[in-house]
């Protein structure tokens, strides 16, 4: 399986919900053996740059696709075009 996304960013100040989001995203990426880079970003500047006001947020190649809640794995698969 493959996707056109190169970099997945999980944005959040480092609370439990952000780590849970990172776990879900990592799980989907590992399961599908995707080549994308998964990053956790806690910088406020980056959040401002992407317009993130609700965390946790997920961005694909610098574009926010989800914010303010922990996604389900199936949702991440859909967003990545896997399902």
């Amino acid at each position: 399986m493959t996707t056109s996304v190169d970099v997945i960013e999980v944005l959040g100040p480092g609370c439990a919900r952000c780590f849970e989001t990172l776990r879900v995203v990592r799980h989907v990426v590992d399961e599908a053996h995707l080549p994308c880079l998964v990053q956790k970003d806690e910088s406020l500047e980056r959040m401002a740059e992407l317009g993130v006001m609700r965390t946790p947020a997920v961005a694909f190649d610098g574009k926010v696709v989800l914010s303010g809640r922990i996604p389900r794995a199936q949702e991440v698969r859909q967003l990545l075009g896997l399902a």
Partner: protein, 360 residues
């Protein structure tokens, strides 16, 4: 300003929306869940009496019998109320977002802006970890500092778990009073903080940051997605609070069964010493996240003579001033402003406690 319909910012939301919309009609499922909920809620009381007096054979009117019946009545009742009401609250909140609040509030004046901000603070879904990015987003779009604070105070002070528990244990009057006083505190505190011109105590980088209009899927979610988010929220909250609810109700049950009536009237009652309100508020400040466990204890205390205003002040201090949120805010606010912020909110909560003790 980007509109809700701008495809460039909403691709992700629209994509999942279209996929989910094709699935099935969510309403029969919700209706069935509602029926089951009503049925379960109506058997809680008879069942609790049967368990304690029938199954365990504890005599009615005895200390232990009263305590056990109280426990088996309150635990399922509170958990059911939490599930049902958090579901409804989350569905309502799925129509609001921080991005929307920001659009509504930018360009609003001090005064009306504070009232709107406090109101939006209640209905907008908000996690204390979002306090910092939200603060930057608000301030950067020209929303005055005091208006931003009204929002940031209302959101945690009027806590949905606390609201449901107060409703379940004290009824709608006290729950309404809690919302009204939370609103008043958020509006007044925001106005006071705005008057103090504290902009110099905001970290400099905040003013230099440019904040892009963000992703907002709120307007285009299907009902199925709203319900599914609500189910998820109920699950998250139940997992987080069930242990606190059990412990809180356990302690409450013990007080209910064993502490003599009016034992507390002298210390925490209406005619108790003046320092009882500030004392309980100060004691509550570091107790964040135990809101779910606090309400049952409060109910038992009120039953034994503690004044309601003192109890409500305690509740608001527990949920409203959270240590984790304060630590996060330190990234954008200088220590002086953090201290003023906590101080003003604390004073406002204490005054509300006195007010209710005088009125009720």
């Amino acid at each position: 300003m980007t509109s809700l319909a701008d495809p460039s910012t909403t691709t992700g939301g629209a994509g999942t929306g279209a996929a989910a919309r094709g699935a099935h009609n969510p309403w029969p499922g919700v209706a069935l869940a509602g029926l089951l909920w009503t049925a379960a809620y109506s058997v809680v009381e008879p069942l609790s009496r049967w368990i304690s007096h029938g199954l365990f054979g504890l005599p009615r009117g005895s200390h232990v019998g009263e305590a056990v019946a109280f426990f088996f009545y309150d635990v399922p009742k509170i958990l059911l109320l939490l599930s049902g009401m958090i579901f409804i609250i989350t569905v309502v909140r799925s129509f609001f977002s921080a991005e929307r609040a920001r659009r509504v509030l930018s360009g609003k004046r001090v005064g009306l802006g504070n009232v709107l901000a406090a109101t939006l603070g209640i209905v907008t879904p908000f996690c204390s970890c979002s306090a910092v990015p939200l603060f930057i987003g608000f301030v950067e779009s020209g929303i005055p500092l005091g208006v931003t604070f009204s929002f940031l105070i209302a959101a945690p002070v009027i806590n949905e778990v606390a609201l449901v528990l107060l409703f379940g244990m004290f009824g709608w009057r006290v729950a309404g009073l809690y919302v009204a006083s939370g609103l008043a505190i958020a509006i007044v505190t925001g106005l006071v903080l705005g008057k103090l011109h504290l902009e110099r105590y905001v970290e400099e980088f905040v003013w230099r940051t440019s904040f892009r209009d963000g992703h907002d899927e709120t307007g285009e979610l299907s009902w199925q997605e709203r319900f599914s988010q609500a189910r998820q929220a109920v699950g998250e909250i139940l997992v987080k609070v069930w242990a606190y609810v059990l412990v809180g109700i356990g302690v409450g049950a013990a007080i209910h069964g064993y502490v003599p009536a009016d034992a507390l009237a002298g210390y925490m009652g209406k005619d108790g010493p003046w320092w009882s309100v500030p004392l309980v508020v100060l004691a509550a400040l570091p107790l964040y996240s135990n809101a779910a466990g606090m309400a049952p204890v409060l109910q038992a205390l009120v039953e034994k003579g503690a004044a309601l205003g003192t109890a409500l002040a305690f509740m608001m201090a527990v949920v409203g001033v959270s240590l984790p949120e304060t630590i996060l805010l330190r990234r954008v606010l200088k220590p002086q402003l953090i201290a003023i912020f906590v101080g003003v909110v604390t004073v406002a909560i204490v005054l509300t406690g006195y007010l209710f003790n005088a009125l009720l």
